[in-house]
Amino acid sequence: MKINFDVDKNEVLRYSGQKDGKATPQIEKLAESYAEKIKENISPRHIAARFNLSQMKDGVMLSNGILLKGNDIKKHLSDCDECYIICATVGIQADSFIRSSLAMGSIYGLMADAAATAAVESYCDSVENELRQQLKKEKLYLTWRYSPGYGDFPFTQQPEILSMLKADRLVGVTCNDSCIMTPSKSVTAVMGIAKNKPAARDRTCDTCPNKDNCNFSCRQR
C-alpha cells in the first residue's frame, strides 16, 4: 500500500524541545529546512500483521501464542477480538543523516533527530489511517497505536514483536540486547480492531501513558 505523508515544521520544533510557539525566526527556518531535508534521507517501510486475540489474566494472547503483557494493553484491547501489530521505520539513511548533521554541530544533530522523529511519527499516522480506512469496509474500527514501554506494557517485549513480524527480513528493523531498535527511527505498535467505535481517545497529559517521561511541549514541568 502506498502511504503518503509529510513532515510538519511545527512537529520538528516540538521534538527539538521548543516548548512554545515563540521560536526565533532562525530556529523556525532551521526547522523548516530540516523538515525538507529529512524527506531526501528516508526510505519508509512498514509491515502490518493482523492477529486474533484473547484476553488472559495477565495480558492479551495473540493467535500465534505470544502473550502481550500488562493491564494497560489489556485495557487498550478490551473491546477487540483482533488487532494489528505494525512495525514502521524511516530507514537507516535517517541515522546516517543524523550523524552527519551532528558532525556539523549539536544544533544540527538536534534538528535532524527531531525531523526524523517527526517523519516516522507522521508516517505511522498515515499507516494507521490507511488501516482504519480499510477496516471501514468491514465495518470495523481501529483503536490507536500502543507501543511497548507505554504504561505497564513491557518495553522488553520488543524483540518478540520484531521477531513475530519478521521485521529483520521484511523491513530491516532489529534490536539490541537492551531492546533498542535499529534503525533508530522505528516504531512498533499494537492497534485494536473493534466492532464498536472506540470511545474518543482521551489525549490529555494525565491519561498519556508516557506522562512520567515526557519532554515535550504538551507538558510544562
Binding site: 532551521l30 500483521a49 558532525a103 556539523m104 519478521k166
Partner: protein, 789 residues
Amino acid sequence: MKILDYIKDNLLFLDGAMGTVLQNSGVNPGKYPEAMNITHPDVVYGVHDAYFAAGSKLVLTNTFGASAHKMAGCEYTPRQVITAGVEIARKAAKKYDGYVALDIGPLGQLLEPMGSLTFEQAYEDFAMQVKAGVAAGADLVFIETMTDLYEVKAAVLAVKENCDLPVFTTMSFEQNMHTFAGTSLSSMAITLDSLGVDALGINCSLGPVEMLPMAKELKKWTDKPLIIKPNAGLPCLVNDKTVYNITNEEFTSAMGEIMALGVNIVGGCCGTNPDMLCHFFNVAKTKQKTDICARQPVSAVCSSGKTVVIDGVKVIGERINPTGKALFKKALETGDLDHIARQAVEQMNAGAHILDINVGHLGIDEKEMMVKVVKKVQSVCNLPLQIDSSNADVIRAGLRVCNGKAIVNSVNGEDEKLAAILPIVKKYGAAVLGLTLDENGIPEKAESRVKIAEKILSAAMAQGIRKEDVFIDCLTLASSAQPQGAMETLKAVKTVSNELGLKTTLGVSNISFGMPNRPLLNSAFMIMAMYNGLNMPIINPNDEMMMDAVFAYNQLSCEDAGGADYISRFAGRVQTAKQSDTGYTVEILIAMGLATETKQAVKKLLETVPALEIVQKHLIPALDAVGKDYEKGKIFLPQLMQSAEAAKMGFEAINRHIAATGNADYEKKGPVVIATVKGDVHDIGKNIVKTVMENYGYEVIDLGKDVPSQAIVDKAVATGAKLVGLSALMTTTVKAMEETIVLLKQSGCNVPVMVGGAVLTEEFSSRIGADFYAKDAQAAVEIARKVIG
C-alpha cells in the same frame, strides 16, 4: 573438477531454501536450525539430497546462522555445527558428484557505524567460520543474504586470508535497488569485483521478476560470473506466517529471462523447494551457457551507497590534511575526531565527490590514526575516500577498514614504491594514483613525466590492476619558481589523457605559491588543466570560486548538457556582501545564535584584546546569560544550542589564534569523561552536554555511545577524571548505568558521577548511586562548577 573450472563451461544450478524445507519436515527447527546438523542429521541430509535429486549441482550447508552471536545460548558451538553441516552435505554430494559450499550469513549484529560490532571483530568471527568449514572439507565459501557491504568485506577478507577456496557472494536488495543498510547495486558490484570474489549477485528478499532489472544493472558494473537466487516471489505476512505465492511456471519463466542476460549461476531462496527448482532446472538445462559481457571499461570508485564514475570533472576534497593547518594538527594530537568529521561533512555539503584523507603528522601513530579517521569519516559521510600516505603500512591499514572502493594516493615511478604499494592496491581492490616523479625527482619536461606514467601503468597492470583504475598526477609546480612549469604540466596532462587514455588528477593550488591573488591563478590554471584533460582536481571544495569554475567547465564542455547542474547551483544565489562588521557585540551575536558573525567579531576583538580576556569577559558571560534565560524558560533547547554553536565558533577563532601565534593556551578544566552507557545508542543529548561544557572551558573526553562499563572506568582512571558523566535514555539501559557506577566505586577511583537522560529523575539517580543528577546540559555545567570549579 574444481568448481571454478566447472563454471567456465557449464551453467551452475544451486539449491533452494533450507529453512522453508526444514520447517516442512515435521521437525521444529526452533531457535537454532543449525543445531539440527547434530540433532537431526538425517533431516538435513534429506534436504540436500532432495535438491541434488532435483538437479542442483551445488548445495549450501545448513550453517547460515552459525556465528558466535546467533549461536549464543545453544549447547553446540558454531565450529561443531559447521563441521557437522559440511560433513552431511559432503555425504549427499558424493552420491551426485556435486559441490558443497560453506554457507555464511550475516553475523546477527550490526557493524559500526550502524551498530557496535567492530570491523575487526566481524573479521575474526568470519575467520572462525571459514577455518571450521575448510577443515571439514567445503569446496567453496558462499557469503549470502548480506545487507551491509562492510560486513561482506570483512567476510571476503576472512575467506581470502584463511584459505585458498573460491568465494561466491550475494547480497539482498529491496525494490528501491538498495539493501536495508543502503548499499547500492553498483557499489556492491564495483567493490566485490575489485576485491576479487569469484562470483557475485543477489539473493533473497525479492522474487525473480523483481530481480530482472537488478541483474541488468549488475551486468553494467562487473564481468564476474553473476548469481541470482531469488525467493519464490515477494513475501507476504499472513498472521505470523510468511507466505510466497509464485507458481513453478512463473518462477521458471522469470528465471529464463534472467539467464538470457548471461546469468549462469542460478538457484532459489526463501519459499522455493526441490519441486519448484526441479521444474526450473528441467527447462534451464536445455539451454547453453551464454557469456555476455555488458561491462564497458569504466573508472569508478565508491562508498557503500555512492558510486562516483570518473567522467567529466570530479572534485577530490583536500581538507583532511594537517599540512599548514594548526587546528587540524592539534586535533590529531589530541585525537579530536569530531573536528575531522566536520571537515568531512563540510566538504561533502560543498559538493566534493571524493575525500582525500591524510593524517601524517610528527609524533602521532599515523597507522592507528588512519584507521580511526577512515572509520569516523565513513560514519558521517557517504563519499568514496582517497587514502593518502607515503607509508605502505598506513595505506594497507586505511584500505582495510575502508567501506567501498577507494583510491590510493600514491605511488610514483620508483621501483621500490611500486613494488611495496601496488600489491596492496590490488589486494584491497582500490584504484591508484601515480605521481610522475621517480628517484631522480620531478622531470622538467612533459615527455619524461609521460614516460613515468607509462611505467606506473605497466607496473600496475602487471599486478592485475585494471588500466581504468590507474590515475596519473602530472604534478603542479609553483609558477613563481618555474615559469615554464604550468605549460609542461598541462602538456603532460593532455598526453596522459589522450594518448595513454588514463584519468588524471592534479593538486591545483601549488601553482600560485608565492604569487599575489592566489585564487585567480588557481582557478585559471584549473580551468586550463580541465580543458587539457584533468579529471580530478584536488582542491578545497569550500572555496566557492573553485567549485563555481568546475560547474562552469562542466556546463561548457557539455558534461552538464543543458546546464541543469549549473543553473541549479546559481539559481537563487544572492550575491552577499563580504562578511563585514555587523556592529553587534559578541554577547548579542551569541544570544542571537549567529555563528559566522560571532567568529568574525571575535577575530576583530583579537586584534586588540588578549584571548584570555575575550573568553572571560565576553564569551563566558554571554553563555551565562543564555543559560539563565534557558533555566527561566525564556528560551528553549534549540535556541540554547544555537547560541552554544555560535560561542563554539568564537572559541574556534580563539583556538586558531592561539595555535597560530604560539601564545599560551588558556587553561582547560577537568578532564570530564562522558559516555552513553552500554546498550544505549542515543547520543544527541550527550553531545549537547559536551558542546556546552566545552564552551565553559572543560576538557571533555567523549567515549561515544554503547560504551562498556569497564571502558568508562579505565578511561576515568587513566585520565584522572575529575567528573564522569553518564547518559542513558531507556529503562533497559539504566541498569548499565548503575553497573558502571558500582564498577567506578569499586575501582577505588573516587570520581563524582553525574547522570542524565530521559527516564532519569533526581530520586532515581541517587537510588542507583549517582552523585549528581543533571536534568540538562546547563545543569551539567553547574555541577562541574561545583565539583571542579
